[in-house]
Symmetry: C2
Subunit: 413 residues, 2 copies
């Protein structure tokens, strides 16, 4: 696989590991800011790269980028990194979750998912093969298998049907991924290999015959491909999904289908059941979760990687995450409050600006409110994970976890 | 006056001068980014302060800040600098232009301007005395006299009536300003002086009796007060306005009432007629103007200071100012364009991002589009003024002006 994975320290189930990619080293547990359309909303790359945030890996969304600007544009611009100007590592999701969350706008068949674009209503089709094709053009260090998500409250039958489909799609994802890589990347002798003809790629995303040509230049090294464990809240299905996904064999494994409407305890039950059983020698990624507390609890159960829109989305909606819990800047009590968002935070926003000012910006509809809240929230998430890594490496994770949780619940002054 | 003014070099009518304030030195010709509500829209202060932009002075809008968050909040937070966290110099306008531009929502009388707040429709009243009071609480290094603006196409009678009113308001502004300063600032013996009773201040903006107490702590040093020259497009009125405003005596002088719908040549005629006649030993400020070309032409006629929303507002609307003219990022021709916004620009946006990516961000409604365009536009305006200063100091302004203008007109590649 294109990334090297090494476990540095463990503390109970918690792990401090290192992912080495050609675009830099990523220490885990790691939080990955979500860059939906090629931008982490409301913050510049320079800030993400600054020592204060130091985000080592960013997410990109296949669904969004495929629809706009479109894969042709990104290909013409040399792949996603080059198109957006981000030189650190990236992970792309498969689009499976996004099309699933379109609800009434999509129709899932064995072959893939037919859906209407949320942008223009046009009919589109996404399958494991197309997702792999698009992700190969995007060229992130880590690509994700194309999966189907079951709703949080899915019955065991629904969840099994969905899980079985995800397993078949996982197999197809891996095959398509490998054929694409074989076709695009030069072999050991430096010659380019032909596209195997066993299962013709639909090449829907790209003009016919463009398969090789189109991706040459954007993919210079093998990507990693992660498989996704599904099964809703049914622990037996989750265990089966894990086993059979691991049998297919991926470079890393993700827990999908959480934070989709299930009860909070269900999420933690699944993580508790599954995370420690995931292959220890591969990265473990919990998709789309969660609050700082969720992250700490998942780390305690052996998870290495996280992504979530909470710090950015909630920031834009006026919510700050702090060491003492959430703060809603709209609240009138902050109108004259000259404290920073979080007294314990050393980020550039907390060093400089008061709650009163940020509230004024928010009330005035000023973009800077979103920018400052986003910056602080990301700083808080990223700094928390840094402290988690330090705690694991020094064997003090249990203590850190207890203190962090206690402080979170003692409320804002 | 609180700021020291020194002429460093002249080249024709163009001047390179220095304003020394207790919050840093400002070299002119200078462009002042507009911070309407206490924020230059779409950019963080850290970027404004970076060597790349190095904005030495920012504008604040009395009208906007008075209505929201309100003067009580800003007073409680220790004045505008402290409230927003900006430690460099500031200039506040008087609110005169803003209430005038409310149009049908305002009624102008001898005493002042009654208007309805654009926020909640509440009836408000702004006068020279109230404007001075508010500006004293805001505490910028430079305050502006309260004036009335005449429309660009005003007849000579309308323009004269407006100009006479502005002159009476200028006198009242100065008197109120001096009485407020006398009341608030300690005298030489360190004792605070009483508020003179000659013309009681209405204190509408502040609770009665709050005059002294309320401003203590926000104003630690004398502000400068600039007078404003009006007279629409009538050169004889403009000359008279200049003479009689200078007779009242201010720390600097501004040309107001331009860029309000008059023909382009009218604006340049007024600047050409008035700027060189403005007191040479005081700063000359052209309010609300303009394009990079306008700035260069006004510098050539002796203007020192500028403010304008063009770089920020047009940035948010997808327009980039470049050395080869304006660029509309919405244009489909930029969809695959891997050039920077301006090949000649060394700003962090042009060093990193392509037109294709910024266009994608704009089309996707991403905040980052506004942020990047705003940054580049401000970098372009501020860098242009830096080059103007260097050209004047090296006696090569005429050459610079010719080359800059030629390049501007040769069009985008």
């Amino acid at each position: 696989m294109a990334i090297a994975f090494q476990i540095g320290a463990t503390d109970g189930e918690a792990r401090a590991t290192t992912l080495t990619t050609r675009r830099g080293m990523i220490e885990t547990p790691v939080f990955m800011p979500v860059g939906t359309a090629g931008t982490v909303k409301g913050i510049r790359f320079e800030e993400l790269e600054s020592p204060e945030l130091d985000a080592r890996i960013m997410l990109g969304n296949t669904y969004h980028l495929w629809l706009r600007p479109g894969i042709e544009t990104i290909r013409a611009c040399g792949g996603l990194h080059k198109f957006i100007g981000w030189e650190r590592a990236m992970l792309t999701d498969s689009g499976g979750f996004q099309v699933w969350s379109l609800g009434a706008l999509r129709k899932i068949t064995e072959e893939g998912t037919e859906f209407r674009s949320h942008l223009d209503g046009s009919l589109r089709f996404l399958s494991p093969e197309i997702s792999m094709e698009v992700q190969t053009v995007l060229g992130a260090e880590i690509a994700m298998a194309f999966d189907e998500c079951a709703p949080g409250e899915a019955t065991v039958d629904e969840a099994r049907r969905s899980m079985e489909l995800t397993l078949r799609w996982a197999q197809r994802s891996k095959e398509a991924f490998e054929r694409l890589h074989a076709a695009v990347l030069p072999n050991d002798s430096g010659e380019e290999r032909e596209l195997p003809s066993a299962r013709p790629l639909p090449l829907t995303a790209l003009p016919a015959e463009a398969g090789k040509q189109s991706m040459r230049g954007t993919l210079s090294q093998r990507q990693s491909l992660f498989g996704i464990i599904q099964g809703a809240g049914h622990l037996d299905l989750r265990r089966e999904s894990l086993e059979r996904t691991a049998e297919i064999g991926f470079d890393g494994y993700a827990i999908g289908g959480l934070s989709v409407g299930e009860e909070k305890h269900v999420m933690m039950d699944v993580i508790e059941e599954i995370a420690p059983r995931m292959p220890a020698e591969k990265p473990r990624y919990l998709m789309g979760v969660g609050t700082p507390e969720d992250l700490i609890e998942a780390v305690a159960r052996g998870v290495d990687m996280f992504d979530c829109v909470l710090p950015t989305r909630n920031g834009r909606n006026g919510q700050a995450f702090t060491s003492r819990g959430k703060l809603n800047i709209k609240n009138a009590r902050y109108a004259w409050d000259q404290n920073p968002l979080d007294e314990s935070c050393g980020c550039s926003v907390c060093r400089r600006h008061t709650r009163a000012f940020i509230r004024h910006l928010y009330q005035s509809g000023e973009m800077l409110a979103s920018m400052l809240l986003t910056h602080h929230n990301l700083a808080f998430f990223l700094d928390t994970m840094k402290r988690v890594r330090q705690a694991i490496r020094s064997g003090q994770f249990a203590e850190f976890r207890r203190e962090f949780t206690e402080q979170l619940h003692c409320g804002l002054e």
